[in-house]
């Protein structure tokens, strides 16, 4: 049940990124900077931290593929990026004691990894010709702020949901082991 709730939340966030958020995007009102919502990535990275890196990879593959199919015409870019970001951050998080601050830093590091990887890849295959300073200042930094605020807003509910999920999974596994014996 909780798992469906998690998948449902991610899916709704995925839809919001392309629809509701685009209605209120800053370019419409004449601003120079871009705010790129990476809400799904933020949650997927948190899954990698709280549940396990393997689950992060699983969710990253599914929602990355969805992003590729719906919002781009190259299949594979976000699928690879999201899952690798979740995996690396998932492993890094074992070094730290997780509280809201370390989660914020690691989550933003995950978004950074993906943002830079996508920029470099798209520059390589000529999907974009934006110069690095322009990418960094008018796109990366404002987006980082947006996603950081998003992470802080959803931190407590998402953390509770994920911890409940991992708890119920542990109990399930124990019950299974018991029934084997």
């Amino acid at each position: 049940m909780r798992r469906f709730f998690l998948v449902g939340t991610l899916f709704v966030l995925f839809l919001l990124e392309g629809t509701v958020f685009q209605v209120f995007a800053p370019e419409q009102y004449g601003f120079d900077f871009q705010l790129i919502p990476r809400f799904v990535t933020v949650i997927v990275v948190m899954i990698g931290m709280v549940l396990s890196p393997a689950y992060g990879v699983l969710y990253g593959v599914v929602f990355g593929l969805l992003h590729d199919l719906i919002y781009t015409d190259l299949v594979g870019v976000y699928m690879f990026g999201m899952s690798v970001a979740a995996y690396i951050i998932g492993y890094l998080s074992k070094v730290f004691h997780l509280n809201w601050f370390t989660t914020l830093i690691l989550g933003l590091l995950g978004v950074t990894l993906m943002e830079f990887y996508v920029y470099e890849l798209f520059s390589l295959i000529n999907v974009t010709d934006v110069s690095f300073p322009s990418f960094f200042y008018s796109r990366y930094l404002p987006s980082l702020l947006l996603n950081g605020i998003f992470l802080l807003i959803v931190y407590y509910p998402v953390k509770r949901l994920l911890e409940d999920l991992s708890e119920s999974r542990r109990q399930e596994n124990q019950a299974k082991r018991r029934s084997f014996l």
């Binding site: 790129i36 299949v75 295959i125 000529n126």
Partner: protein, 292 residues
Amino acid sequence: MPQFFSNKRLIVLLVSIIILVALIGTSMKERDALTMPEQFFKDSIGWLQSIFYKPANSVAGLFESIGEMKDMYEENELLKSRLNEFVAVSEELKTVKKENEDLKSELNIDSSTGLSNYQTFHANMIARSPDRWNDLLTIDKGEQDGVEADMAVATPDGLIGKVKNVQPFSSTVQLVSDVDRTNRIAAMTQEDKNVFGTIEGYDMEKEVLLFSKIPVDTKVEKGQTVITAGNGGIFPRGIVIGEIVDIETDNVGTTQTAYVKPASDLYDINNVMIIDRGAQNVNPDEGEGEEE
């Protein structure tokens, strides 16, 4: 983290990089149509997106109209003064059109085969790529409504792009600002002499289109309007693209490039027109009177 890079994981990583490259390679190729599962996903998610997009858009529209309210009075005065002008111009247009038709019939030109004949139909935008690398829109009309790939898409202000992929109930529009070597438009300016060139890309930082391949001996000026030329096969003649803001001579010195500011705001898009040029071949009587 001792087993961060164990052998098994390294192999998995390498294999997935190879798969990534293969996937990008296959999906970068020019494709006529999307595969069935892709179409299915895009259509069903397009339907869900429209549920989210429409209410949000109407809320944003409400705020916008409240903001516009205070300029209303001045605008109204201005428009009233322009109204008389409009009547005169539309009368003139009528006579000119009539005269044009008479002349054409005298010369035995079939008026339905012109470069500038087209039909339009309307569609609503339902989503946009959230990462600004790909400038793709999703609109709520698809194959069932008669949309075909490569049709031109415009707002009342001017051209915004072309249809890239068509699904049964929705389609994807590639904006003119999308960096893609196949995203080219035959364009021209129409002052005293027709000047032809190609729109060959978009400068993301200056937010202008590059109107290049203009012969160096022809004169183009700032402020001239650029329209589609209609000889590229995809677009009909006469859709406004934008206005020239700057001109540069190329390195070699044989051609010049003009920077064109798009006439329509590429970020504030709600309703779009899909321009169907093919209708003229099916029924020569249609297509007249639809021009704007």
